[in-house]
């Protein structure tokens, strides 16, 4: 009896280790250790093949005087701010589609469509949409006697053009979050609100939005991360151009480390560390909320 109890106890303490081991090993080697390795590499001068030379904070000092770094940082801020438009836009479409007319399911799927396709395809589609000679945008502008304008060849417009392309799938994502959220809104509260004569904006603001809080939270998290991860579209639509004016940190890092601009792994890693620090603000915020929720359970 006592022997079997001991074996059960062993099993109970050994089981989690065995169940967790493969996942933890994979995650440590491919995700956790590389984070620290990158931080370490950022203190070196390294071309990726030859010997590493320790340079201390030199890469970071150089970063402080790097014009291209500030352009990328500024563009990241523009991305972050404008990407947030996906949240109200997604809510707007969700409200528009939250009806039960015939064929609604199909409409909802079609509106969600842009999120399912690859950003590479989105990027190619929009590059072509913006094309100064044949692109649909300029055809439409032509109807109003405007244009043509080469959005992706213009330093002032290029980043906005890329963000607009990114907003397309991101809005679809926020929309689906809100559609799911709206389905779960308590109908009794709506009826009670209607009895109190709450309508339109008031209803939305005081009764619906508070109940959509979980959806809004997730929408903010995924949108911030999407904005900071913006690499695909920049790479495909402009490769950072014209003259580096549409670079973002994620792309600039890649350029420094892997492209013909020189294999400067250390410098690239330093840029990545800055990007990580920005992201850490959100990661910490998210983890703290999760911790509070876990405690509350």
């Amino acid at each position: 009896m006592s022997a079997s109890r001991a074996s059960r106890f062993n099993q109970r303490s050994l089981a989690p280790v065995l169940f967790l081991a493969p996942a933890i090993l994979f995650f440590l080697f491919y995700v956790i250790f590389p984070i620290f390795q990158s931080i370490q590499i950022s203190l070196y001068d390294w071309d990726g093949l030859g010997p590493k030379t320790f340079v201390g904070m030199d890469n970071y000092v150089e970063l402080m005087d790097d014009e291209a770094f500030y352009t990328s940082l500024k563009n990241n801020v523009i991305w972050l701010v404008l990407y947030m438009l996906a949240i109200p836009a997604g809510l707007f479409i969700a409200l528009f589609l939250n009806q039960t007319v015939f064929g609604m399911r199909l409409y909802k799927s079609l509106f969600f469509f842009p999120f399912v396709i690859s950003q590479v395809v989105v990027g190619l589609v929009f590059t072509w949409f913006y094309d100064p000679s044949y692109g649909l945008l300029n055809v439409i502008l032509g109807w109003f006697g405007m244009g043509p304008i080469a959005i992706l060849g213009d330093e002032t417009w290029v980043t906005y053009g890329i963000i607009f392309a990114g907003l397309w799938p991101q809005t679809a994502y926020c929309m689906i979050l809100y559609i799911t959220g709206l389905n779960a809104v308590d109908p009794e509260q709506i009826e009670a609100g209607r009895l109190d004569n709450a309508k339109g904006w008031n209803m939305l603001w005081y009764i619906i939005l508070p109940q959509l809080k979980p959806a809004t939270f997730i929408a903010i998290v995924v949108t911030v991360i999407g904005a900071l991860r913006s690499f695909d579209l920049v790479s495909i639509m402009t490769a950072g151009g014209p003259w580096g004016s549409s670079r973002v940190l994620a792309y600039y890092m890649y350029e420094k480390a892997f492209s013909e601009y020189g294999f400067r792994m250390g410098y690239g890693a330093a840029i990545a560390v800055v990007l990580l620090l920005i992201m850490m603000i959100y990661i910490t915020f998210f983890l703290m909320k999760m911790y509070r929720d876990e405690r509350g359970q």
């Binding site: 059960r8 109970r12 995650f27 779960a184 690239g268």
Partner: protein, 282 residues
């Protein structure tokens, strides 16, 4: 329901809504519709700048067979399959186990391990790029689908563990307690009791991971090069460089590359949305 159901509104408003719907949808999908139309145009139309007028000929079959016979698109697609399918299987296997362990057992550091998965899942890819490429090179897996799939499995395990753990937590604990009283071994509890109940979560994550990995572009460019191992996202980008202004081919290629995740989405929509909207409802 909010907003007020349209059936309760005036007839005029209802009619307006029903006409606005298809218009809004066409506007929303306009870029895609344009691409689909362009993919069946002839090269002559493209050079003549006839993008928006009636096509002089319909080259559906010709364009689509062209991209498969004259370019390695078929091999890019096959590489995508070879990366995506093992990643889905590997990630699900790892995260079912880790999610189970984190949800069911109380042990020191449980929360810490859990938060490690969650936090790691959010880091920018660039902070991993140099060391992961190095690691892959050292293992001799650079420029191979295996190297790419192994990384994807590891990274996706973060998100999937979060998902699985929360899902298992919502299952009744009594089931496990009862089984333990009966003397059922731990791995049998996992295999025979919990795993069958996890089917909806497995389905949701399978479609989600499939889409994420199929659409990955960044890691494809970091860890592979050349038609023998590059997946279709990276392949399409290099083809785009070759097909300068051959927009009918670029469009056809884009449609082909987008097709598998779109098909999966339409076939398994319920699971897809369940996965994506995890946590959107309390």
């Amino acid at each position: 329901m909010f907003p007020t159901p349209i059936e309760r509104r005036s007839a005029a408003l209802q009619r307006m809504y029903k006409t606005a719907l298809p218009f809004a949808m066409i506007l929303w999908l306009l870029p895609l519709i344009a691409v689909a139309l362009t993919s069946i145009r002839s090269a002559g139309d493209i050079t003549a700048g006839n993008y928006w007028g009636w096509p002089t000929s319909f080259n559906l079959i010709q364009n689509y067979s062209d991209i498969f016979t004259n370019t390695p698109l078929g091999s890019y697609m096959w590489n995508s399959v070879r990366v995506t399918i093992p990643t889905v299987i590997g990630t699900l296997a790892l995260s079912c186990m880790s999610g189970f362990a984190l949800a069911v057992y109380k042990f020191k550091g449980n929360m810490l391990v859990f938060f490690m998965f969650v936090a790691g899942n959010f880091v920018p890819f660039q902070i991993l790029m140099v060391p992961v490429r190095d690691l892959t090179l050292q293992m001799g897996l650079y420029n191979s689908v295996t190297g790419l799939a192994l990384f994807h499995i590891a990274f996706q395990t973060g998100f999937c563990t979060l998902f699985m753990r929360n899902f298992i937590r919502s299952l009744p604990v009594e089931l496990i307690e009862a089984a333990r009283v009966e003397g059922v071994k731990e791995w049998r509890i996992f295999w025979f009791i919990i795993l069958p109940l996890m089917r909806p979560a497995i389905a949701a994550l399978a479609v989600l991971v499939f889409t994420f990995i199929w659409n990955d572009y960044f890691w494809a460019t970091v860890l592979t090069q050349g038609a023998e191992s590059q997946p279709v996202t990276a392949g399409l980008y290099s083809l785009n460089g070759q097909w300068v202004a051959a927009w009918h081919l670029v469009s056809a290629g884009s449609i082909v590359a987008a097709l598998p995740p779109v098909a999966i989405f339409f076939l398994l929509q319920k699971h897809f949305i369940a996965g994506l909207t995890l946590g959107a409802v309390k």
